[in-house]
């Protein structure tokens, strides 16, 4: 495509805000797909990112599920990592110092298996130098409710978000589960319970069977589906949630390039996160940042935030 010369000087402004968090651009990394940042430092300048979201943490380290944990599917993948993580303490001591060196906000994704654990994790993370926001993953099983997922029952969502909200003044992002009948309802519940922003979507629950062995391919049987295959579902949910809440949305689910990121923003996202694509091309996130700027110059978009929800107009 030809670049249309602007006549006047156009420096596209990529800045966005998520609650009180100011990002130099709207491109984040999706939790669990970017390790603790270190793994990708050799492939990009981490300063170029809008924010780094780290692998989900819990109070105590978690061993995760047995392998195989990964199955490729058509334009997607299933994972059953089982929330393996080094625990909040080791994160703070071993990983955070490295991340503090960059001028990029760090968002800590975390979870618990009870409301108390969520609350205790929040209290531990609150006020730590170098942590700029919290993203609570509510797509995980609740010990108290027979391991039903926190993010699928509005009452439980309300309770757990409320408990976390009380423990922190950091920007609180609630990451919704897409495996629900009414995503807009869940979004409103999270908003009413004190969320400053929403992340969506987490993975769709899926499964694959090896017809040779006649057994599930994942040792854990079910896993989370991510990648381009789920993008249409993600776009639809963001579109619906944008109409239902006032707080900003961080959109994710199959973003592979700047065009995809723009689609998410037009659907209603204020920022986006690159997930599975990091595995395909470790430079995806920074290439998306560059692609957004190119698009803005070509289409004479001064402020990226003006694109949020653009598909709802008219």
């Amino acid at each position: 495509m030809q670049r249309i010369s602007s006549g006047r000087d156009m420096t596209p402004n990529l800045e966005v805000t998520i609650g009180s968090l100011r990002l130099k651009n709207p491109v984040m990394t999706a939790s669990g797909t970017f390790g603790y940042g270190e793994e990708y430092a050799e492939f990009m300048d981490l300063n170029a990112l809008g924010a780094i979201v780290v692998k989900g943490l819990s109070l105590k380290p978690k061993e995760g599920n047995p392998p195989p944990r990964i199955v490729e599917t058509a334009s997607g993948m299933l994972n059953s990592i089982g929330l393996q993580n080094i625990g909040i303490e080791r994160f703070i001591h071993d990983k955070l110092p490295f991340l503090r060196r960059f001028d990029t906000p760090v968002v800590v994704n975390f979870f618990g298996d009870s409301v108390d654990e969520y609350a205790a994790a929040t209290a531990r993370l609150d006020g730590i130098d170098g942590i700029h926001a919290l993203e609570m993953n509510i797509s995980c099983p609740n010990k108290q409710a027979g391991w039903a997922v926190f993010g699928t029952d509005p009452k439980v969502t309300c309770e757990v978000v409320g408990a976390v909200r009380k423990r922190t003044s950091l920007p609180l992002i609630v990451k919704l589960s897409p495996n629900v009948t009414d995503i807009a309802l869940m979004a409103r519940v999270a908003e009413d319970s004190g969320a400053d922003a929403l992340s969506l979507i987490n993975t769709l629950t899926g499964m694959a069977i090896d017809i040779r062995t006649r057994r599930p391919k994942l040792a854990n049987i079910r896993g989370g589906l991510s990648g381009p295959a789920i993008k249409p579902v993600a776009i639809r949910m963001i579109y619906d949630v944008f109409r239902a809440v006032k707080i900003p949305i961080i959109g994710m689910g199959g973003i592979m390039n700047a065009g995809d990121a723009l689609e998410f923003m037009m659907a209603g996202a204020s920022a986006v996160a690159v997930g599975t694509a990091n595995f395909i091309n470790p430079r995806t996130a920074v290439e998306v940042v560059a692609g957004l700027a190119t698009f803005m110059e070509r289409e004479q978009v001064k402020e990226i935030r003006s694109l949020t929800g653009a598909a709802h107009a008219g």
Binding site: Y40, F43, R69, I70, E72, N79, Q84, T276, N278, I280
Partner: protein
């Protein structure tokens, strides 16, 4: 960014009906690989298949690298169809290769099937010092025999169906070798790559003979660089005071080569 580079296919030659030798010329600067390291290779441009495929370094060449691969499923079927001149993106070299051996070591190298790809550069590095035990399903699946003969101290071949050389498997060969030299196994170091069942059997032999060994493992991978935690395997835990006897380590990062003693089968 020398671990993420573009490479041009300079040759993609069938060795038999389901194995190819792929020669790649790197178009961007590339890190020097070690024997036992691997690459994540892009097999197509669209989103299906989505993930890169893991292949061992088979040979470092003047122009770049070579990969020896078996056509197994969707991704390798596409790879086989790529023609000279096609440009693909590659991540690597990745993981930890085979450790260096002391001067006095007597290296014994086990390769089962396509496992030869992983140990080949190690055999090259040992330059005539290594005993190589190499087995495959059938004679037609034994590759690079002439080169291997030149590179090995002794080359022992076997096939499951007896169609070439001895009928049997490399663990049997290892067993015989140990039995025949039971008095002088001190300096023997075993390096192996092959199917999991072969490695598990080999583990028993080396352990009962108190031989030090390193095995290269495989697991399904998404990122190849330690970020997704998808490729873990059970490794005996060294952490003091921990209840569980193992921890999950990443094949792509702490491996693919592990100390055979540490692997939980």
């Amino acid at each position: 960014m020398s671990r993420y580079f573009r490479a041009e296919i300079s040759a993609n030659i069938p060795l038999n009906d389901n194995h190819n030798l792929l020669s790649l010329t790197n178009l961007d600067p590339m890190d020097e690989p070690e024997p036992g390291q691997f690459y994540m290779v892009e097999v197509n441009q669209g989103y299906d298949p989505l993930l890169k495929r893991a292949f061992s370094l088979f040979r470092r060449t003047a122009e770049g690298i070579q990969i020896l691969y078996r056509i197994q499923g969707k991704g390798t079927a596409i790879l086989r169809n790529l023609k000279e001149g096609a440009v693909i993106r590659i991540l690597g070299p990745l993981g930890n290769g085979y450790p260096a051996a002391p001067e006095e070591a007597i290296p014994v190298i086990l390769a089962g099937g396509i496992g030869i790809a992983s140990v080949f550069p190690l055999i090259e590095r040992f330059a005539g010092k290594a005993y190589v035990l190499y087995g495959a399903r059938t004679g037609g699946d034994l590759f690079m025999i002439d080169e291997l003969r030149g590179l090995s101290k002794e080359l022992h071949l076997c096939t499951d169906d007896g169609s070439c050389s001895e009928k049997g498997n490399v663990v049997g060969l290892l067993h015989s070798l140990c039995a025949s030299r039971s008095s002088c196994l001190d300096h023997v170091k075993v390096y192996a790559c092959g199917p999991k069942v072969m490695l598990r059997e080999a583990a028993k032999v080396v352990s009962s003979n108190c031989i030090k060994a390193w095995f290269s493992l495989e697991e399904h991978m998404a990122c190849g660089i330690g970020a997704c935690l998808g490729c873990v395997t059970k490794i005996k835990s060294a952490r003091p005071g921990e209840e569980q006897a193992f921890e999950y380590q990443r094949v792509c990062k702490e491996g693919p080569v592990f100390d055979a003693e540490d692997i939980v089968w």
